[in-house]
């Protein structure tokens, strides 16, 4: 099924995965049970590189990664130093112009990209580990463990992530992007847990899982060697969506001024630009790049994800 997520910034992608129960799953199961074989891998690569969505999405994301890695070396201006002329449009010296405080926008942008990848990777990673862990455990063990975990998931799911982040960040005084990423990771896992749980439910009644269980292997072994490999595409896509979601939430937090104030991020750039009335001054070079950076990364990830969905699930490939 199309794995989509209620991203934090927008309504975004309705979490269809969560709706499995409503549809009793059966008729739309995406065939996760195909064992991975070498031949299949090359076939997957073949379809992946023929799929324009996957190619385009991953190209955009990789380009952003490259800019984030290389970009800071190409400028002599530290992102937060007030050492340039103020309110300059883009020029050969200041590629993206300067802020009202004389800071180099290009330098802020490339450092902001780094922060975005840190928050996305770490925050999304933590959410992924929690979501997958809870989902597998609940789905595979069932019974009271499932009841308890399901209750926990539902409770965390209903509480708006940003609301809880606002109150935590307000008291905690977030000092680093690592802290911010951890807070985001701890609050954004529930939909992933539900998605993985419902997948596990439909997979655990298959014969090969029964055989593995009868052979006396422990729960962890069965999950690691039988269930996870057969859901690898699903798990990969879950991570991609969590990654993008974490970047969007992080940007909102930074925009509210609840992120680290000692370093720069894309959200903080927007916050600074907004508070300095860049809008009214018409300093488009200040507030356009951070948003475009986020749209490029997150949009690239989403488009890549649809591409992957079509690669893994032949039914979806364009006719």
């Amino acid at each position: 099924m199309p794995l989509t997520e209620p991203t934090q910034s927008g309504v975004a992608l309705p979490a269809e995965a969560v709706a499995d129960a409503a549809r009793s799953g059966a008729q739309t199961a995406p065939a996760p049970g195909v064992p991975a074989a070498p031949r299949l891998h090359s076939e997957l690569f073949y379809f992946a590189f023929r799929n324009w969505k996957f190619v385009l999405g991953s190209a955009v994301v990789l380009a952003c990664v490259a800019i984030a890695i290389v970009g800071p070396w190409l400028t002599d201006h530290p992102p937060l130093a007030f050492d340039g002329p103020t309110d300059q449009p883009p020029s050969s010296e200041y590629w993206f112009g300067t802020t009202s405080y004389g800071q180099d926008v290009y330098s802020q942008f490339v450092h902001g990209l780094r922060a975005a990848f840190l928050v996305g990777g770490l925050g999304g990673g933590i959410a992924w580990v929690l979501g997958v862990g809870v989902g597998f455990t609940a789905g595979y063990r069932g019974g009271w463990i499932d009841d308890v975990l399901n209750m926990l998931t539902n409770v965390v799911l209903v509480i708006p992530t940003l609301a809880i982040l606002i109150i935590v960040a307000a008291y905690l005084q977030v000092q680093s992007y690592t802290t911010e990423a951890v807070i985001i990771g701890l609050t954004s896992w529930p939909w992933a847990a539900r998605a993985v749980r419902s997948q596990t439910f439909s997979l655990k009644t298959r014969e090969f899982v029964e055989v593995a269980r009868l052979s006396g292997r422990s729960t962890r072994q069965v999950i690691a060697t039988e269930l996870a490999p057969n859901m690898s595409s699903y798990l990969l896509m879950t991570f991609i969506l969590l990654f993008g979601g974490a970047i969007l939430i992080g940007a909102s937090l930074d925009f509210l001024g609840l992120g680290p104030s000692e370093s720069i991020s894309l959200g903080l750039m927007m916050n600074n630009a907004f508070l300095a009335s860049a809008l009214l001054l018409g300093s488009w070079w200040w507030f356009l790049p951070p948003g475009l950076g986020i749209v490029a990364i997150v949009g690239g990830l989403y488009v890549m994800n649809v591409g992957l969905d079509e690669v893994f699930n032949p039914k979806l490939r364009e006719l």
Partner: protein
């Protein structure tokens, strides 16, 4: 049906309980003394500091045992007492929130409903239609990946700053008073369009993608194939597919509520729209902790109520929930 709703209500009550507990626990168990930390950051005048320390220790109720503090917190809450705002001392927090709430709702409710309706219709239209699919889909992906505040900034820059078609901030003109008059309504609408559009467009993208994907699955399913084989016109097949695809979308609506609320908060800030978002920002900037905590509880209560409304809608449209089967999720 009763069982289905009862289960939901239990979860919502539990969530509310957890939320209140978090709200109570965070200032008390965070590292450092909250009152001292608060006042050192507030740079209050010397005389005011003493008074505020007194107010805070009393308001937090630190002088009684922990369990009693917790009970007192609940008691105050159930009486609608969320404490007093520091920045606007001595206005009660609940009064500030009530003043801001109508503006937030005026943005949120139309944005949620209209984007859901338009997004689903568009997504259903685009599915399995090559040209539409290849235009609507990429546009939707860009929209749904856009941070709302940035879209708000861009809209304000284009339509308010560059071409002065719409006002750049506020909820109504300075020349009118909030009242039931045509003049006010027009001014309100004029100010409302840009922030609404920012929320609407981002949400629209998400629903269009979701519906497009769902309806493709429905069109692949056995009942669709069977219907087509019987010679039913494709319009009819799509109609049934749409109905079935709508169910998970409604579940998605419940899940997306938190995200839309978050979007409204940041968009309001961009347009200085006098709702809960702008109130949140000023509370954060002034370190007005009781106000932050009050807004937190209010947002969660609102989301819980909206969730319950969606559950009721679900009971109406999904017959399985009514006959005791496990519909919904």
């Amino acid at each position: 049906m009763t069982r289905y709703l009862a289960r939901k209500v239990v979860i919502y009550l539990l969530t509310f309980f957890v939320a209140v507990t978090i709200d109570w626990a965070i200032p008390r168990f965070m590292p450092g003394d909250p009152i001292e930390g608060l006042l050192s950051r507030m740079k209050a005048q010397p005389g005011a500091t003493e008074e505020l320390t007194g107010y805070y220790s009393h308001a937090f109720g630190f002088d009684v045992p922990l369990w009693q503090q917790y009970l007192n917190f609940w008691a105050a809450l159930l009486h609608g007492d969320l404490g007093r705002s520091i920045a606007n001392f001595p206005t009660p927090v609940s009064e500030l929130i009530m003043g801001a709430l109508p503006y937030t709702l005026a943005l949120l409710i139309p944005a949620i409903l209209l984007s859901f309706w338009a997004g689903n219709k568009t997504g259903a239209l685009a599915a399995r239609r090559k040209v539409l699919d290849n235009t609507v889909l990429p546009a939707s992906y860009v929209l749904t990946a856009t941070p709302q505040m940035w879209l708000g900034i861009v809209l304000a820059w284009l339509f308010a700053s560059t071409w002065a078609i719409f006002p750049v901030s506020g909820a109504y003109g300075l020349d009118v008073q909030p009242q039931w008059s045509l003049e006010f309504a027009l001014s309100f609408l004029h100010h409302w369009i840009l922030p609404f559009s920012a929320l609407f467009l981002v949400a629209f993208g998400g629903w269009a993608i979701g519906m497009r994907n769902m309806i493709i699955y429905e069109l692949e399913s056995d009942y669709s194939n069977y219907l087509t084989a019987l010679g039913a016109p494709s319009k009819l097949v799509r109609k049934y597919a749409y109905r079935n695809a709508l169910l998970p979308q409604i579940t998605g609506l419940a899940l997306a509520l938190g995200a839309v609320v978050a979007g409204a908060i940041v968009v309001e800030i961009v347009f200085s729209y006098p709702g809960l978002g702008t109130l949140t920002l000023s509370a954060i900037q002034n370190r007005d902790y009781f106000l932050i905590q009050g807004i937190f509880l209010f947002l969660i209560t609102g989301v819980l109520i909206a969730n319950f409304v969606i559950d009721l809608v679900y009971v109406v449209i999904d017959p399985r929930t009514r006959v005791g089967m496990q519909g919904g999720s």
